[in-house]
């Protein structure tokens, strides 16, 4: 029982970070209909940014959230204006090719600059753990979970209660109508994309104390984020949150009870099951 509880909680913690990556992906998809196949690579960039801050400037992982967030905002802005803006409203395959290409490009740029070595950030938080009731909660995971949920919460609040969020939802539904209300869709798309990228980058920061940093790590989060988004319903923020937590727990349980190497199998099985039983996802809108 203790092992079960421990495994579930471990999975839940990491699931919070999956949710953060997925929320960025679902925001971008929801607002401009683009599936960003490079989302995982922006997690990777966030991890490298965090590693550089820690290594060269001795900035701890968590104080690094603000500078990395700002860097990712700029990266998201530039990527949108130079690349993504050209494919908004174009057929799906155009955007898929572009973001897939971007993903390969980013991996290889990092490979050229940093090499293929596995890097780690040395922090004291790595070995710290909260112990109670026979459970051991690694502090890095607890912080990652809490911070990730805070950002997901902030994003939900922004979407639901602010003018920016309303404008994003308006552009998502019909950009011509949004224009007639004085909303500049290009501005809103830029911001939505950049915020989606910031979410990925921040997830990267939170993951750095737990994961090795290497050029190909984004692929891992790409796949997970897609499963989470499809599971929760494309474009749904609550869906991405719930999906992230479910996938985190599933992965953790399969890893413990079946085999560590097979951890993703549980995820994919449930994913297939959801597609079979509820193709629009847990919170998805039904499409005719």
């Amino acid at each position: 029982m203790d092992i079960f509880l421990q495994t579930t909680i471990n999975g839940l913690m990491i699931g919070g970070v999956y949710a953060l990556v997925a929320v960025g992906l679902t925001l971008i998809f929801g607002v401009m209909g683009i599936v960003n196949f490079a989302q995982g690579e922006f997690v990777m960039l966030g991890m490298y940014a965090s590693w550089m801050l820690a290594t060269y400037l001795k900035v701890g992982p968590y104080p690094g959230l603000l500078p990395v967030g700002l860097i990712m905002l700029a990266v998201g802005y530039i990527v949108f204006r130079t690349l993504i803006a050209r494919v908004v409203g174009k057929p799906d395959e155009v955007a898929i090719l572009l973001t897939l290409g971007l993903s390969i490009f980013l991996q290889n740029v990092i490979l050229v600059i940093y090499g293929a070595d596995y890097l780690t950030v040395q922090t004291t938080i790595k070995d710290a753990a909260l112990n109670f009731a026979g459970l051991s909660l690694p502090l890095a995971r607890v912080v990652a979970f809490v911070v990730a949920l805070i950002f997901v919460g902030l994003l939900s609040y922004m979407l639901a209660k602010t003018d920016l969020g309303r404008a994003m939802r308006a552009c998502a539904e019909n950009r011509n109508i949004a224009t007639l209300l004085g909303i500049n869709p290009k501005f809103i798309f830029t911001l939505a994309f950049a915020i989606g990228i910031v979410m990925a980058g921040l997830a990267g920061v939170l993951l750095t104390p737990m994961f090795y940093v290497y050029p190909g790590i984004g692929t891992l989060f790409n796949l997970t984020a897609f499963v989470v988004v499809v599971l929760g319903g494309m474009g749904s923020v609550p869906g991405a949150l719930l999906g992230g937590l479910i996938i985190g727990i599933l992965e953790s349980l399969t890893g413990t009870y079946v085999a560590l190497d097979l951890a993703p199998i549980g995820t994919w099985l449930v994913f297939l099951l959801v597609l079979f039983l509820r193709p629009s996802g847990l919170f998805g809108r039904r499409v005719n």
Partner: protein, 234 residues
């Protein structure tokens, strides 16, 4: 207030409007009538910048609209209610109204304005938290007009406001349009429902295959034999 001069535009290679000129003066309500395919909606899209102008010009209070970005028009005081009402179905009534007051000039007075709208349209207040897509056709038209009024417009464009509404609701909507006109808002209204349109309008233009074939005061148009024959069947 609004002046359109020799406007030529269309979709792709297809020319839809072939030199249309019309004016709307301050405080005036002008009806644009014509059968399907005459180019009425095309004209409105050109005004709102959703369609590029091939030649000619559209000026609003002396400012050339084709030179502006489409999203800059509301700040000039232009509210455009597109065909099919243009409400955001997946947003609540409240959020739709809030976005009506999105532009900077309207934002400051937004909550007071919303109370005015709720007083004017009590049905919207009852359905404040409902998704706009769940409203009836008539309620959606009220929401579209209320949302447009949220931006304190000086000029309102209405594209077929009676489309798909019951006769009773059509009457209500036209009464609302008359009220909006009373508030001092200039109106350009596009309608197939000629009688209702000319009833609220001061003047009218008849558009046929991309050209203005007839114009005059509402009374003149109503008395015109060609109009009576073509649109009223009498």
């Amino acid at each position: 207030m609004l002046e359109i001069k020799d406007l030529v535009t269309g979709y792709g290679d297809l020319k839809v409007l072939d030199g249309v000129s019309l004016t709307v003066e301050e405080g005036e309500t002008v009806a644009l009538v014509g059968s399907n395919g005459a180019g009425k909606t095309t004209l409105l899209q050109a005004i709102s910048g959703l369609l590029p102008v091939w030649s000619g010009d559209i000026t609003f209070r002396g400012q050339s609209l084709p030179k502006l970005q489409p999203h800059q028009l509301p700040a000039l005081g232009i509210a455009h209610i597109p065909q099919g009402r243009g409400i955001l179905a997946r947003l609540s009534v409240y959020d739709n109204l809030m976005l009506g007051g999105y532009i900077a000039a309207a934002k400051a007075k937004r909550s007071a304005r919303m109370e005015e709208m709720f007083a004017l349209f009590p049905r919207l207040k009852e359905r404040r938290e409902q998704l706009a897509g769940t409203l009836s056709g008539g309620e959606q038209q009220m929401l579209a007009i209320a949302r447009a009024l949220m931006m304190y417009p000086s000029f309102m464009i209405l594209d077929e406001p009676s489309l798909g509404l019951s006769p009773l609701m059509v009457e209500t909507v036209f009464k609302i349009i008359a009220d909006v006109s009373q508030m001092g808002v200039s109106i350009l209204i596009i309608e197939q429902n000629l009688v209702e349109a000319l009833h609220v309008a001061d003047r009218g233009y008849v558009l046929e295959t991309g050209r203005v074939v007839l114009s005059g005061t509402s009374a003149e148009l109503m008395g015109n034999d060609k109009v009576r024959e073509a649109y009223l069947g009498i």
